[in-house]
């Protein structure tokens, strides 16, 4: 795995994000380490409020106004430090390196402007081309994102197009600046099933063709299985499990990941055969407004020990071949290693 030696494209190290309002102080992201290499798809999975969006958008200065944010740690994009940057420079960096696809394309596009000119004006701004060239680029992008008859669509208003088409326009808009990293914040949640598959295919296609890294924020496990190279499972602002998609989804170790996977309804199980349905995880995520010692998952954890609420579980590497499967649960790691040794012994 020589990938490890290469400097990653996007990296966060010991990232801590505190959000302050007049009422509460929330630790949204708690010492997170992540790396994304060029041409790789990293899926960030977790429940609502687990810090997925804050973790990815926070370092880019894209958190909603009205909350005071305190970010500590490191965040780098192709060697450049993203934190401690003046807002202007950060905005420039964002335009050049990142493309962002939001959940709801209908509200992310200006309803008063035709979609084509919205693209073209960004092309003019980010690539420094003339208006005519901007228009050409816009039409080309519309074509590339699989929009039929792009010349005609160029002059359409957002309300004249379907959700799937608009999401394609959003993707085109995200690609205008020739980004190195595409951040897709639940890109298919607002779309219906058939369109979802098309959009995912398009994203995968773009990632392959242009060697763009994608950070995919989602809570849909099937999307992860289809798309991701790497998976980071976030729980209450901390990484529970992090590794390649095969490792995390087929050999989950952390009790939270296991719970998350068993919460997905299985299409193949017949009614009655699996009467209990998806197992799910009992309880609800902890209140993140006060810091507590120990593991955040302890109240809902089926394998919790007394020491779990005493100190914070470190991220440990599992002795797989890949050497890139990290789990923050000493209890589960120990039993998995025992099991692996047992299997090896039998063989």
């Amino acid at each position: 795995m020589n990938k490890l030696k290469k400097e990653p494209l996007f990296k966060v190290k010991d990232l801590v994000i505190d959000l302050y309002t007049e009422q509460v102080s929330v630790r949204a992201v708690d010492s997170v380490n992540l790396e994304v290499n060029a041409g790789e798809i990293l899926a960030v999975v977790g429940e609502s409020g687990s810090g997925k969006t804050v973790m990815t958008l926070g370092p880019l200065g894209l958190l909603p106004e009205g909350v005071s944010v305190d970010i500590r740690g490191q965040s780098q994009c192709s060697g450049q430090d993203l934190l401690n940057k003046p807002a202007r420079e950060l905005a420039k960096l964002r335009g050049e390196n990142f493309g962002i696809i939001f959940q709801d394309p209908i509200s992310a596009l200006n309803p008063m402007k035709k979609v084509g000119p919205q693209l073209a004006s960004q092309a003019v701004r980010l690539r420094g081309v003339s208006k005519q060239q901007g228009k050409e680029i816009a039409i080309e992008l519309l074509q590339r994102t699989g929009i039929p008859d792009p010349e005609d669509r160029y002059n359409r208003y957002p309300h004249e197009m379907s959700g799937g088409m608009l999401q394609r326009v959003m993707i085109a808009l995200a690609l205008v600046g020739n980004p190195k990293i595409l951040i897709a914040d639940e890109p298919i949640t607002a779309l219906d099933a058939t369109v979802q598959a098309q959009i995912l295919e398009l994203l995968k296609d773009i990632q392959c063709r242009e060697n763009i890294a994608i950070i995919l924020i989602t809570h849909d496990i099937s999307v992860v299985a289809q798309m991701a190279d790497q998976v980071a499972v976030l729980y209450a602002g901390r990484i529970a499990e992090y590794g390649t998609m095969e490792d995390v989804l087929t050999r989950p170790v952390h009790p939270y990941t296991k719970g998350l996977l068993s919460s997905v309804p299985d299409l193949r199980s017949k009614r009655g055969e699996n009467a209990s349905g998806p197992a799910g995880i009992t309880g609800s995520p902890p209140d993140q407004s006060s810091l507590l010692p120990g593991c955040r998952f302890v109240e809902r954890c089926p394998v919790a020990q007394t020491f779990c609420s005493k100190f914070r579980p470190p991220l440990e590497v599992l002795p797989h071949l890949s050497q890139r499967h990290f789990v923050a649960c000493p209890v589960a790691v120990e039993s998995t290693i025992e099991q692996m040794e047992g299997e090896a012994y039998e063989q």
């Binding site: 505190d18 302050y20 309002t21 007049e22 102080s25 909603p64 106004e65 009205g66 909350v67 005071s68 944010v69 305190d70 006060s290 810091l291 507590l292 010692p293 120990g294 020491f307 005493k310 100190f311 914070r312």
Partner: protein
């Protein structure tokens, strides 16, 4: 609801904008006790005196204590202003919301009437009204109310029409809520949230309008001390004794600007903004302490 938390945020209250207004209200409420003399008692042996220990701000041409008159003037202004504001709010919100809720022809008629009133300067409307019913304290209040309500009606209508299409109104209707219930429980809070903020900024303008009408001799009648009135009285002595005009004018300016500040503050509050640097610093320090405590706990375990 004065728990520990609200006490800790007391330090972050906008005291800078609250203090002037609270001071004005306190002076108005306790006017009777804090004014050193009776504001209407004339004393011909002490006419047009400068400031002294007996009369801190001196006396006017009838020997009345200026400080007492300014203090009592605050009371007169506050009372008249509150009556007008409350009446205008009630009338405006009722008519405006009704127009917005009912819609159709009724709305068209009402909103046209509101627009007609709004197209005229409010002081002109008030003057015309006083012209019809004659000058006096209560006709001044009635006239100002007539001139002021249209603004609130306009705003209420706008809020009602936009809220009326929200899904939660539909949900309430599906669950069989009556119109009155929907309006009072679901729409009125939105209306008040906007209108009351606007009214707090408007209070200053209203104090000024009361003074203007009294200045023109159409409002508060002479023996009652009123700031606008005091300006007229002082006019004749402007050259020799400018303080007779300057001091009530100053009081007026301070009150108007402090209400404007308050209104501005409320308006800004409606826009979500981060915490003040000071507040953030306090919270960060608390967080750091918490962090240190946790790491100590984890280390000892």
């Amino acid at each position: 609801m004065l728990n520990k938390h609200s006490l800790s945020t007391l330090a972050t209250w906008p005291w800078a904008v609250l203090t002037p207004v609270l001071l004005f209200v306190a002076i108005a409420i306790f006017a009777l006790w804090i004014s050193p003399y009776d504001p209407t008692t004339q004393n011909y042996s002490a006419v047009l005196q400068g400031s002294s220990w007996e009369h801190w701000l001196g006396t006017d041409y009838l020997g009345r204590d200026l400080l007492s008159r300014i203090i009592t003037g605050a009371q007169v202004s506050l009372v008249a202003m509150s009556i007008v504001l409350i009446a205008a709010l009630i009338i405006g919100v009722t008519i405006g919301s009704f127009a917005g809720y009912v819609g159709g022809k009724t709305e068209l008629v009402l909103i046209s009437a509101i627009d007609i009133i709004l197209s005229l300067p409010s002081l002109v409307v008030a003057l015309a009204f006083i012209g019809i019913i004659g000058p006096g304290y209560w006709s001044m209040i009635a006239a100002l109310t007539m001139a002021w309500w249209a603004n609130y009606a306009r705003m209420s209508r706008a809020v009602v029409t936009s809220e009326l299409h929200q899904p939660y109104i539909e949900a309430a209707r599906v669950m069989g809520a009556s119109h009155l219930h929907i309006f009072v429980r679901h729409i009125l809070p939105h209306v008040l949230a906007l209108v009351v903020v606007y009214a707090s900024a408007d209070a200053g303008a209203l104090v000024l309008a009361i003074a203007t009408l009294s200045f023109l001799g159409l409002g508060v009648e002479p023996p009652t001390p009123e700031w606008g009135q005091m300006l007229v009285d002082g006019m004749n002595y402007l050259e020799q004794y400018p303080r007779l005009v300057v001091l009530p004018g100053l009081a007026l300016t301070l009150v108007v600007s402090s209400f404007n500040l308050l209104g501005e503050h409320f308006a800004l509050k409606k826009v979500p903004r981060g915490l003040t640097q000071r507040h953030l610093k306090i919270l960060k320090r608390l967080r750091a302490q918490e962090e240190a405590r946790i790491s100590e706990l984890e280390a000892s375990a």
